[in-house]
């Protein structure tokens, strides 16, 4: 099924919802249930955001966080997809290794924080390690599942038309798993963005997570919320970027059937 084009007025709806949300927030802060120091108003947050932006700190934190997320996530994908492919094709290895992989997948990456600090200290490396631990196992499991779900008929056809070796991988297996893997990348990238904030709060000297933690320590709730706003916006942007992958014509079949 083709999606119907969305009219301009419908496209404005999210903006309307946003305005209503800010209005409710503003009204709540005006009511004064909590003092301004623990429930900052939208205006105070906007001012805080401006302050952070002008000082250049916001940009530096953003770059630091994005660098860690990108590194940890890419590392997890570059290792996870090939390992998933290998396990998907080898029943015995899959049988042997999948329980262990599922064990680590079920483990909250935050549980690794103490070790991350002990092993790698403070800075980029522990955060990248934690993001990797959060993303690697789900990517492996999703790739294994995608390979196992390839209808065997495609391999018969590939054999009929004399595909083998690398060509079988690049022209049959990879395109066959692409839609499922792309979906898992979207989920995992979201996970990476969640983890980087937690990692930087504890094992960081900069980054958006550290900015939140620092604001809390300085009792600057306006800066804390402005950090939250930026984190939320970037999370949405990352997902929008990865959604572009699902628009590639040769993977549409995976979403339209």
């Amino acid at each position: 099924m083709r999606e119907k084009p969305i009219s301009f007025s419908v496209r404005l709806l999210p903006l309307l919802v946003l305005l209503i949300a800010v209005a409710i927030w503003s009204a709540l802060s005006k009511l004064g249930i909590f003092p301004e120091s623990v429930f900052p108003s939208p205006l105070a947050v906007a001012k805080g955001l401006g302050e952070e932006f002008r000082s250049g700190r916001l940009f530096d934190d953003l770059v630091a966080s994005l660098f860690r997320v990108t590194s940890g996530f890419l590392l997890a994908v570059l290792l996870g997809v090939p390992i998933g492919l290998w396990l998907g094709h080898h029943v015995r290895s899959r049988f042997a290794l999948l329980p262990l992989i599922n064990f680590f997948r079920s483990l909250s990456p935050l549980a690794w924080i103490p070790f991350a600090i002990l092993w790698f200290g403070i800075g980029d490396v522990p955060a990248i390690f934690l993001i990797f631990m959060a993303c690697f196992f789900p990517v492996v499991v999703a790739t294994v599942a995608a390979v196992a779900n390839i209808p065997s008929i495609y391999f018969r056809v590939a054999h009929d038309y004399r595909f083998s070796g690398t060509e079988l991988l690049t022209r049959v297996t990879l395109p066959a798993i692409a839609p499922q893997v792309i979906t898992s990348l979207r989920v995992t990238a979201g996970l990476a963005w969640l983890v980087v904030v937690a990692a930087e709060m504890i094992a960081g000297r900069d980054g958006l997570g550290f900015a939140i933690w620092d604001a809390r320590n300085g009792l600057r709730m306006d800066l804390l919320v402005s950090g939250m706003v930026v984190i939320g916006i970037i999370g949405v942007v990352i997902d929008r970027v990865l959604v572009r992958l699902t628009k590639i014509r040769s993977v549409r079949w995976g979403y339209e059937r």
């Binding site: 495609y154 018969r156 009929d160 038309y161 004399r162 395109p175 014509r249 040769s250 549409r252 059937r257």
Partner: protein, 250 residues
């Protein structure tokens, strides 16, 4: 060139506990269109798998000289490739790019899907997809076509059109064809020879020759008579004497 490109001598296939068939003798001539019908589960697809080399016989010998292409029941097109790319799979062996391009266009014209060349399989109807499958299998220098219930997932009217379509395509690109089907009308309308298989362990319990030229109307008396014989053989219709004089049955 061998004039009997497909041959099974004393062939037997058995899986673990049951025997699919034994002592099977079968010869298929170059350019012949053979349809295989029989009760479901009797081993019709196994026969095709023997010819395609996907399955080895438990005993006996299978000869297959020439390149073989198989058309499956449904959805064996690569969904990540366009109509043109899927058909081009059948032309992979050709070394000349120009020749590939020429044959691809010829195939697209043959199946009337020129304007759909850039479409993906999920954007096509079931009948269109099956036409692409046939084109992919016919493209290039292939000798033998194995059809495994290729139209079984289509509605009746589309099936009728596809049969005519297949007859027309074979007119332009003659091939040796083995068609496995549970559609007796399809077999009677298309085949030069129909093999009726028995229940497992399967044997050929009847061979019917149909000399009528293709394309054949489904209501042509000889097609109807052939269907009657097959149905009678399968125990689904009473024998009627008045058909005997109208058809050539050996």
């Amino acid at each position: 060139m061998n004039d009997k490109p497909l041959r099974i001598e004393n062939g037997a296939v058995s899986f673990d506990s049951f025997e699919v068939f034994h002592n099977l003798y079968l010869e298929i001539s170059r350019g012949e269109f053979v349809a295989v019908v029989g009760p479901s589960g009797c081993g019709k697809t196994t026969l095709l798998n023997l010819f395609s080399g996907f399955l080895k016989p438990t005993a006996g010998r299978v000869f297959c000289s020439g390149s073989v292409r198989m058309v499956y029941q449904h959805d064996s097109l690569f969904p990540w490739q366009t109509v043109a790319q899927n058909i081009a799979l059948g032309l992979r062996e050709l070394s000349s790019e120009n020749e590939r391009e020429r044959q691809l266009n010829e195939m697209l014209r043959l199946i009337n899907l020129v304007e759909f060349a850039g479409h993906y399989p999920h954007q096509l109807s079931g009948g269109m997809r099956q036409r692409v499958e046939l084109a992919r299998a016919l493209a290039g220098d292939t000798d033998i076509l194995l059809l495994d219930e290729p139209f079984s997932s289509l509605d009746y009217l589309t099936r009728l059109r596809m049969r005519r379509e297949l007859a027309r395509m074979l007119e332009e690109f003659p091939r040796t064809v083995v068609l496995v089907t549970h559609d007796i009308e399809e077999a009677a309308q298309l085949a030069d020879r129909i093999l009726v298989l028995s229940e497992r362990p399967a044997r050929i319990c009847r061979e019917l020759h149909v000399a009528l030229r293709r394309p054949r109307e489904p209501t042509h008396p000889e097609v109807v008579a052939t269907m009657h014989y097959v149905l009678t053989e399968l125990g689904l219709e009473q024998d009627k004497d008045d058909f005997v004089s109208q058809t050539t049955v050996s």
